[in-house]
Symmetry: C2
Subunit: 415 residues, 2 copies
């Protein structure tokens, strides 16, 4: 079962926004065994939209379109869909009821004609009611193909995909089983790994694919299998993993649940009823940001301090000015003191601290660009590591954040 | 002049990564007057890649491909391009020299055959040397069309686009002038704006397009004009703006340079030689994160505290426990005290503080979900505002961050 995702909007093509909708839809479809054959992004242009619809219908069983359902003149998707299906727009009662409800509760202004017009839906389509906005989703079924049009506003689209589209697709099609297993590998690049596992890779059965996903300081190896017999697939992937992991000795870190490491850490801290606090210099709040992106973080996250300036380290983190004087602000000693003081200040079980130079110019120290010290205060000791993370600001920050989470993960999973 | 961007990689289609490459390329092309006709994302599949190449060549003058140039078996783009152009791969001296250089300086391990093979480039193509990785870009020219293949690793792709592809395209084609002007509008939704400016919109000349870009708590209106006569275009857009802005009285906030608000604020603070510090509760570090994402932030950003737990507000921010007891932790009084104490603690000119309830459940207070207090301490006073930001965690956080930046922007631009 193949799908094509079509995202419509000039703002995507001029690069004003990054199209995160397609990734969300791709992930959701994949999870129910639908392969995404292609993602196509096009302008709000009728001729081009019609052409994309036609091509998608030739190649895919399921076509999911986002964008261009708003109330303004640049939103032409709905009229274009009606034309494509040789249909006319009629007022949909459920959609109108939803618009009136949203207006009454959230907008508290009179309904304009353009808002009422948002209840116009092609007569042969089913309206998918949008709990978060006035643009309904549109569901067409023709010649065993499903055609869905959704608003481009991410949270509206997400709710419609999860609550309406996925359940309806599962009810419509008999879908195959898709299984991904991802291994996290550290310390060597993908070419070294490829040489190590060349034989393994050449002997993989055809229904299992291997992908290398390199990112800052790590490579993820993903095995993907697809078929109708769930048990047979799980069994075969398991057998392949038993061949693969010994080949990765010394560099294999963990299976990756495709969950961010901060989520795995948060779950474990919560389980152990422990807490964490952070002091960030060169990582500038990125560690805290990633932790607090998850609801429920308040159960294990006590708080954090971004101590950018040296004076802030002294004033807020109570670091001894003489210690900084003696060892420099980018040093093992200062990192350790930052972690310890943060642990004390916040009364947390663990505290992470970073100090380093992310570039592009040297800051309050003479440390080389890319030099980062990360310290971790645990209930029993304070660890510190020095890293040399390259030359580019975003790479240094990104790698430092990953290293910090890895240090923390190793320690908390020892318990 | 039309371009198509083709991004290749299973990880895009299964939604494991969000394709940010296409947006960067789209923005870069747009800035030199090249319109992006379509963005197409496809799997690492030879037949499909060849089909996409053929279709792109029919529709576009410039085809830019990313992904699939790595050293591993799942990277098939290079071989597929060679086949498409009926060409063979030969060792490119410059590319090999670059690989050896990178290996010597960064990897410090022996070169594997797969790395040497990365110097293989189609014989009719030009290699675009990649300063940050071993996969060279590939530049083909055929029948007045340009075909460029780039690695998918974002920072490698970005450097190649900026340093090689854009200068070469400017040297190859005579390009039109494209101009965007974006207006930031607050307080009403896009449908209300559309009604207000209906006449204006209907009378726009055909070479100027108007787009509505709604996001959390604001709408951006973008005028886009394109043509060969730069002066005439700037003149016409200016005339249209003079018609448009009076129609937006009371809701027009500022022109948007398509620069993030935190960058505009940072520039202004730096100009005024002033500093800022932040205390974040419900926004969880997002404000600090957005400030420190910009190099040079250390010049005006003193630091921040994420004070998630009530106890942290007492211990770290020195908020009087009785004040919290009396007014609740989500209150005007606590927000003001947080801002004032942060200003003092960090010795900054300004301090922003947020306290609120982002949901999904109530935290240390009984405040309604969506209630957020934002306080701003300035050199002369402390302002505080109460907001009611809806029901969804990410919306509440996103809107609160925007509101905080807006409060700050208004104050610092008064000077």
């Amino acid at each position: 079962m193949n799908a094509e995702i079509i995202t419509i909007g000039d703002e995507i093509l001029i690069g004003q926004i990054i199209d995160s909708n397609a990734a969300f839809i791709g992930k959701s479809l994949n999870a129910i065994g639908v392969s995404v054959y292609q993602i196509t992004s096009i302008q709000d242009d009728k001729t081009h939209i019609l052409k994309a619809f036609k091509e998608a219908e030739e190649n895919a069983d399921i076509i999911i379109v986002t964008g261009g359902l708003g109330p303004t003149k640049d939103d032409i998707t709905k009229h274009t869909i009606a034309e494509y299906f040789d249909d006319t727009l009629v007022q949909n009662k459920e959609a109108l009821k939803n618009i009136k409800h949203l207006w009454k509760h959230y907008v508290k202004q009179p309904l304009a004609q353009v808002n009422i017009d948002q209840a116009l839906i092609p007569s042969k389509a089913e309206a998918l009611i949008n709990a978060y906005g006035t643009a309904s989703g549109i569901w067409f079924s023709r010649r065993n193909k499903i055609f869905v049009s959704l608003p481009g506003v991410p949270y509206e689209m997400k709710a419609l995909i999860t609550d309406s589209v996925i359940p309806k697709l599962k009810a419509t099609f008999k879908l195959p089983f898709i299984y991904h297993k991802t291994l996290l590998v550290y310390g060597v690049g993908e070419s070294i790994i490829a040489e190590r596992i060349e034989n393994f890779e050449n002997n993989l059965p055809s229904f299992i694919k291997l992908a290398y996903l390199p990112s800052l300081g790590r490579v993820r190896l993903r095995l993907s299998a697809k078929g109708n017999n769930k048990e047979a697939i799980l069994e075969e992937v398991q057998q392949q993993l038993e061949k693969l992991t010994p080949l990765l000795e010394g560099i294999f870190f963990s299976y990756d649940e495709d969950k961010p490491i901060e989520l795995v850490i948060g779950k474990q801290l919560q389980k152990q009823k422990q807490t964490i606090a952070i002091a960030e210099s060169c990582t500038g709040g990125e560690i805290a940001k990633r932790i607090t992106a998850n609801p429920g973080a308040s159960k294990y996250f006590r708080g954090s301090i971004v101590a950018y300036a040296t004076q802030t380290k002294i004033d807020v983190l109570n670091i001894d000015a003489q210690l900084i004087q003696k060892h420099s602000v980018v040093s093992k000693e200062v990192a350790k003191a930052m972690a310890k003081n943060t642990q004390q200040l916040f009364g947390s079980d663990y505290a992470l601290a970073t100090t380093g130079n992310a570039g592009p110019t040297k800051g309050d120290s003479n440390a080389d660009i890319g030099t980062v010290f990360i310290a971790l205060a645990t209930p029993t000791k304070t660890l510190v590591e020095e890293f040399s993370l390259g030359q580019h600001r975003f790479k240094v920050i990104g790698k430092a954040v990953n290293k910090a989470f890895e240090m923390l993960q190793k320690e908390i999973f020892k318990n």
